[in-house]
Amino acid sequence: MLHDLIIRPFESGYMQRALIEVVLLGVLGGIVGVHVMMRKMAFVTEVVQHTVFPGIAIAFAFGHSLLLGALCAGALSMVLLTVGTRRSAIDSDSFMALLIATFFAFGVIVVSRQRSFQSDLTALLFGRILTVDRQEIVDTIIVGAISVIVLWALHKELVMRAFDPAYTGALGYRIDVIDLVLNLVVMLIVVAAVRAVGTVLVVAFIVTPAAAARLVFRRVRTMMVASALGAAVCGWIGLIVIFHGSIDHGWRVAAGSTIVLVFTLAFVIVWAASAVFARRGRGSGSAASVEAAS
């Protein structure tokens, strides 16, 4: 029974590759997600996942590497974001919405010139987790290794900048450089995830597990471990649901969305559970919560 439920789905090669990719992305997203949440950068993640779309669309139309296209478009949007928000008349949130709208519109126009518009657009938007190949897993491992090394090396600086930007600046650190590095790491992970889960659902891999971990844990490193583990487990559960749903029950479900919905469900459960515990624990005096400055 248990074997049927857990082992059987992963007997075929494509499900094994999907599992490896989902677990990798879950761990990466979970780790960087804690930084994203401490800095309230969910909107930046949303911007990146939409702005890589035209890069992918152009690369797709001209037969270049999707990864390269996504990297170029992502880097361009991060540079524009840094430059564009320097002028005080431009509100940074409005500028991010502008980047999303124009980049995305450009991507849609490029795709709409293609003959197989509908199915291509759908694949680019929602990804194809079940058709991940060996090369994509290798790409993910390389991108992931770079991101994790950068985050590990700059951990102290990143956390300090999140909690006390004024002090960090006073110590002589360049805050804009730290910010740019974090933006680029987020961009790298979004790009790695985009082909598997598509351009509109990546944000769930980064924001949702970290937000759930934040509800339970207070320490940054504990949060990272919890959100990485949680995301990997949820991805695994999601794949099992997809397999049994489509093979045993004949459901026609989109794979990426199913995984994201498992994430969301897990968040809601953690939220409800922690709300109950918080109410009980209030009487016995709970520790003051840690708040990050933006």
Partner: protein
């Protein structure tokens, strides 16, 4: 050019132009409130969050506007409830909710046959298939939203600039916040059939931002934003008719081009003023 002239002879295209210009103007004005309250991320979130409502409405066969509005208001409530916990900041909660609800929409859509065709229509809109009913909905929504916003104009602007002050004077700031959020959600739901969920974001943020470059005062900003929004709708549709590209994409891109031109023009203008006056420019505060 000939294709464009031909297009204008058809009733379908004239209806499309009317709808696009109308939505552009309404969204431009509402967009000024979005910019004042720093709600662009909320707008982006709503564009994704109304999606399941639109899908359910299309599956069940009732008005897309009703579906989008209903689900949108549900999501607003959800964000407020989940965000009430102090541990989480608003943007994380919005991120969680928008991804979850969008995934729900995709899941419902993928469960029925012929889904990919419908999906791209939801995302980039199908302004050329706009019906008279859609136009009437848009007019009604626009009239109500603009009437409410202009009646409460002073209070809403006051609340946006000085929340504490407004509260101290006895205004219920959460009611004012709620009015703006509902207005944005309804406008979004009305724009969905024409420009699609994702590119409605463009009309609710970009024209207001473009107008903001030219003036610092709110009412002129609104007039300019409405003009830029309507212009984007008109020019975007003409571009899409001439080169046969997706209409929603062309409209959003036109709005973006307007912004870039305005940015260049106002930057050089304030640089010139500074040189002539020999004092700090007053163009961009």
């Amino acid at each position: 050019m000939k294709t464009l002239v031909d297009s204008f002879h058809t009733a379908i295209f004239r209806r499309a132009v009317f709808e696009a210009v109308l939505i552009g103007a309404i969204a431009g004005i509402v967009g000024v409130h979005v910019a004042l309250r720093r709600l662009p991320f909320f707008v982006v979130a709503m564009s994704h969050a109304t999606f399941p409502g639109v899908v359910i409405a299309s599956v069940a066969g009732f008005s897309l506007f009703v579906g989008g509005t209903g689900f949108g208001l549900l999501v607003v409530a959800l964000v407020l409830v989940l965000g009430a916990r102090r541990a989480l900041d608003d943007s994380s909660v919005i991120g969680v909710v928008l991804a979850g609800s969008f995934a729900l929409g995709v899941l419902i859509l993928s469960a029925r046959p012929g889904s990919s065709t419908d999906l791209s229509a939801f995302l980039v809109g199908s302004v050329l298939t706009v019906t008279s009913g859609d136009i009437i909905t848009t007019i009604a929504v626009g009239a109500i939203v603009l009437a409410v916003l202009s009646l409460l104009h002073k209070e809403i602007v006051f609340g946006a600039f000085d929340r504490v002050g407004a509260g101290a004077l006895g205004y219920r700031t959460w009611v004012l916040d709620g009015v703006v959020l509902v207005a944005v959600t309804i406008t979004m739901a009305a724009a969905v059939p024409a420009v699609g969920t994702l590119l409605a974001v463009a009309l609710l943020t970009v024209p207001a931002m473009t107008a903001r470059l030219w003036t610092d005062r709110i009412r002129p900003t609104m007039a300019l934003a409405a003009t830029f929004g309507a212009l984007s709708g008109f020019v975007g549709l003409c571009v899409s008719a001439i080169w046969a590209v997706a209409a929603g994409g062309a409209i959003a891109l036109t709005a973006g081009v307007c912004f870039v031109i305005s940015l260049a023009a106002t930057t050089s203008r304030s640089a010139l003023q500074r040189r002539h006056a020999g004092v700090a420019g007053f163009g961009a505060a």
